[in-house]
Symmetry: C2
Subunit: 154 residues, 2 copies
């Protein structure tokens, strides 16, 4: 199995996982501290999806640290196949969550002007949270494609 940039057990892979974990955690933190987010299902779903991504990326981050520390090889078929499925599911859910929140936000900002009229809704905070969710999805999509490439190139 090839040793690509971002593959499991490499420093670049660890950096990708840290990036995913951090941006998903920031997205949750900013959304949870925004006023009035809980009245919209899409924003609650964003928190749930980012929570799942934090758990997944944190788990793989720990595995990468373990592999780097003890010089273990994670390039086995079963491990990488599991990573592919997990990455694909979490990446799809993250993109869906970020997009649905962005769709609602565009409705609030441009279509209805709710953001200007409703002062109990922290629109800026919610937008920052959505931006971090997209960043987190992008990094996860990168990992997902690297894993898929590894499995396919056996």
């Amino acid at each position: 199995m090839k040793r690509l940039f971002g593959s499991p057990g490499r420093k670049s892979g660890l950096i990708l996982r840290i990036g995913q974990c951090m941006s998903a955690a920031v997205s949750i933190g900013v959304m949870a501290s925004a006023h009035g987010f809980s009245s919209t299902t899409a924003f609650c779903y964003l928190i749930a999806s980012m929570g799942l991504q934090v758990l997944w990326s944190f788990g793989l981050m720990c595995l990468d640290i373990h592999a780097l520390r003890f010089n273990k090889d994670l390039h086995t078929n079963i491990i990488v196949s599991l990573f592919v499925v997990g990455d694909w599911v979490t990446a799809t859910l993250s993109l869906a969550a970020a997009s649905s929140s962005a769709g609602v936000m565009v409705l609030f900002v441009t279509d209805t002007n709710i953001c200007k009229s409703d002062l109990n809704l922290s629109c800026n905070m919610i937008q920052i949270s959505i931006a971090f969710a997209f960043a987190s999805w992008f990094l996860l999509a990168l990992s997902s494609y690297i894993m898929f490439w590894l499995v396919a190139s056996i």
Copy 2:
């Protein structure tokens, strides 16, 4: 290059392209005939994204028909790499469009009851359109992974 299920120039590939094209076209038709869709950006974006998908899938469908009729081989590196990039971009845009519309629809149906109070909005039609958009994305995602597998397994 392997000849997988759904790869270009095979009947299974053609069926996948026809499915993508048809479900995206139905999604556009149902959305365009729904009352009040144009006041929401997410629904207009769904039409634009499904329009792009119809064009892309229709083009590849014609190419598949040509290859099947004249027994041409589409399994060259450059062609399949182009298909991978195109499939990936359209699949990402389609999922984003379907999810953003779904997020807005959930807001209208469960969070605010706009669907019950605003009789000028054809909520059922919009929901059907979103369902077809998700079906179309799923078929495109299948094609996208098959193409990626083909490129990676060279």
